[in-house]
Symmetry: C2
Subunit: 490 residues, 2 copies
């Protein structure tokens, strides 16, 4: 893996001076194309100590238009980061469309350190597999990942650090970490070799670059970025003429998990009032316990319009300490949200330890409305099931309790509620022409929902199907499911 | 202050049922107007324990369209928040244009707690004065602040807490804090009275509402929100017809702080190389010390196009640990940025402890380009000096070292550099038609810069004027100023 980066690759000054201006010019033109096409790029710079990671970053900064660039070098995670799934800190750093993020230290830092410290390889490999999924998702979502590993042979590293250490004005470039890592060259090389081999994929290959000669290193990395981005832009250009995606209108099976529900289930008001008070008291107690235990919870609500999501959510939050929950109503994304992979807008609202986030509509929009209305391409909603499962798995792995509710009403009941809304002035805002149009696609939405529930139900992040023709029944069922889940997992 | 909120205000069930639907309808119509006009609203709900703060929040959530709402209830600050100026956490919560944020616990929590704990009133009053400035700025920047204080008489509070405590299913609503605060009713009342009187301004008055009767409380708060927002919307409607602001083209004084600079100052290359290496070594040492000490630094760069800002910044960052600095190049704001007060986009990039943020162009754009090009109104850039001074003072108070650089080049030198850029392909992106047009407004920019420097120079956040016709001189001067300042303050 590293052999061809130990042969003393170098470029002489003259050749460098001849070539550098062209590369700079081409990089700038490339940035304009990136902005036009809305391509985001992550440049990951890893490598051994002394191989020139910071210097490479600096040259890229110098050569490119700083307004299209952002740099990220990692320190220890902050507590907001530590309080959330591991990848949260990287999601918040992702460059938006048209821009480039250059990373020193990334999602690879932790598995490499674990492996170095002797963690079992099988365990580290699982982390690496999840990284592969993450990078595949980025690639599919128009974020190109370019991974560069700056390598030095053992002798070259010794020479480099000695040279720096001998000059009092440059000695500061050698940190304590450098001196530590120098001692472990062989072990680090072994770790890097495994990680690079395992995570070098077709979409996001590793490029090993010899770091000994600064001119060679700089020019090689710059040209690598240029080539990778240009190729991806060419691919996108070729795709640009594609027609808009067609809406997908699946037909539901005659008997399915949704129409099998007994929507006549109901509760008398007196019984409801009695149970509501008890359940809210229980929920209050359990969310305080959640807080004390430093766990977190994510609840997602889906279902047809007028299914009673808002009402059910209000019955939950009145029992919680207002400092502990956040309700996120999903409407049209902002342009910052649109400029990132579709899961980004949900990652940004994930709760910290002790907190609850309730999503009124969620990431499942991808496989419901976006699918049925043709807002995304078939390959996009098809891969979304796996992406969503991976997302929820990360939440669960981080100690978050995840419950998803589908509030099911019959078409007749929805019609009754729509008519009621239209006749009640303060409810009229809740209904518009689109809601009526969506009714015509009732079957397609039902079929899409069935497929979604089947493909994304898991022990760890279950779907709770709620018979919601009777609002009182539905609210009690939601409260019961939340409290049961909390009792079980706390 | 509280007398009229202790007289047993109440509304009977029938009157409530008659009025509530109208109010709900009006609130929803109001939200639509807010979205159309781009008015942001902060509703601050304070009050004594047991007066129904959470319940009021819940009713507002129920009555309004959740997609235009966000709620914020404070816990202890996170470490990312603690690492930055006190107001940072509130800036990050500000609702964007067209939306409403409802706050339980706000910027008032800390000064009230301080006063309660016996901090000198004069010291707390300074904090309160800064809050007044903040709210005034919000008001001017199209963010309406509505402050509600829910009050209970001592007897009413005792009765309320006793009632809750006696019901096993509702007892959870009484927290340990409630029980504690109950003991100190008189002291809290005294503190609240002082704070409310001091911070009740014309733009953001306090509204005291009696909290004893839930129906009265809910209806009163809802109508208060309705009235305040509607009045502000009417004002904005009246202003909507205004012509766009005129560009402001001030003329510089014949002799001024900028044209008095000796732009012939220069440095030989050999001397430059020698000093650069020494200064970078020193800067590396000092930024490591900054990190150890948990201090932070903000550097801002302004000056004419082609003044050498980027080159000077690169000489700084090559001496720093990439994990410690962030360069923020200020270009066109995103729509999320545009939807907030103009300082919001700078607040979001403030460094945490141990870190450095370098702004390549900054908040001073408000009194330079926005003023000269007519992108903002005269009253907006005129008040910006005070707002900027207040902003920087908050940084300094939080232990941040602030240095601002103005890199001054002559019109002739700028022309030379523009021509050079046009002839060098990889520099051509740095110049466009607008840069040439801006040259025609050279005098206006010079005069605006002189006024800016005079109005915003302070001991704590000084301007360093840099003779920048010679790039080498300029870079050394910048490095020297940064290292001197660090040496002085660390």
């Amino acid at each position: 893996m590293f052999q061809s980066a130990e042969i003393g690759n170098a470029i002489d000054k003259k050749a460098y001076k001849a070539e550098a201006p062209e590369v700079r010019e081409a990089l700038l033109a490339m940035q304009e194309r990136m902005a036009d096409r809305g391509l985001a790029v992550c440049v990951v710079i890893g490598g051994v100590e002394g191989a020139g990671k910071s210097e490479t970053l600096n040259v890229l900064l110098e050569w490119m238009d700083a307004r299209g660039l952002q740099t990220h070098a990692l320190r220890d995670p902050t507590d907001e980061e530590r309080d959330r799934p591991h990848m949260w800190r990287f999601w918040r750093m992702l460059p938006p469309k048209g821009r480039m993020g250059i990373f020193l230290g990334t999602w690879y830092a932790e598995p490499m350190a674990d492996l170095f410290d002797g963690a079992p390889r099988s365990q580290v490999d699982q982390t690496l597999d999840r990284i592969i999924d993450f990078e595949r998702m980025l690639h599919a979502e128009n974020t190109l990942v370019i991974k560069v590993w700056l390598h030095l042979s053992k002798a070259a590293q010794q020479a480099r650090l000695k040279e720096l250490g001998g000059d009092p004005d440059r000695r500061w470039r050698v940190t304590a970490a450098d001196r530590l890592y120098r001692k472990h060259y062989d072990r680090i090389r072994e770790v890097a070799e495994h990680v690079l081999r395992r995570t070098g994929t077709g979409d996001a290959p590793w490029h090993v670059v010899e770091g000994t000669d600064p001119r060679y290193r700089q020019l090689t990395v710059a040209k690598l970025v240029l080539k990778s981005v240009s190729e991806r832009l060419d691919q996108l250009d070729a795709l640009a003429g594609r027609p808009r995606p067609e809406p997908d209108r699946p037909r539901p099976a005659p008997v399915n998990i949704l129409n099998r529900l007994d929507l006549s289930a109901k509760l008398k008001r007196a019984e409801y009032e009695k149970r509501l008070v008890k359940l809210q008291a229980k929920l209050a107690r359990l969310t305080r316990k959640l807080h004390r235990r430093g766990r977190s919870m994510v609840l997602a609500f889906e279902g047809p319009d007028a299914g009673g999501k808002g009402g059910a959510i209000r019955r939950l939050i009145t029992a919680m300490d207002a400092r502990d929950y956040q309700v996120v109503a999903i409407a049209a994304p902002t342009d910052e949200e649109r400029a990132h992979p579709y899961l980004w807008r949900f990652w940004r609202h994930l709760p910290g330890r002790g907190r609850v986030t309730i999503f009124d509509r969620s990431w499942y929009g991808r496989v419901l409305v976006e699918r049925v209305e043709g807002f995304c391409r078939p390959e996009e909603w098809r891969r979304a099931y796996a992406e969503i499962n991976a997302f929820e798995q990360q939440l669960v792995d981080a100690g978050t309790i995840v419950v998803k509710f589908y509030l099911s009403v019959s078409a007749d009941e929805q019609l009754r509620r729509f008519e009621d809304r239209q006749q009640t002035p303060y409810k009229a805002h809740k209904i518009n022409a689109e809601d009526w149009r969506n009714r015509e696609k009732w079957d397609a939405y039902e079929a899409a929902a069935c497929e979604m529930i089947e493909k994304t139900s898991s022990e760890a992040a279950p779907w709770v199907l709620v018979e919601a023709n009777d609002k009182l029944w539905a609210r009690v069922k939601v409260l019961t499911a939340v409290t049961d889940r909390l009792e079980e997992l706390l």
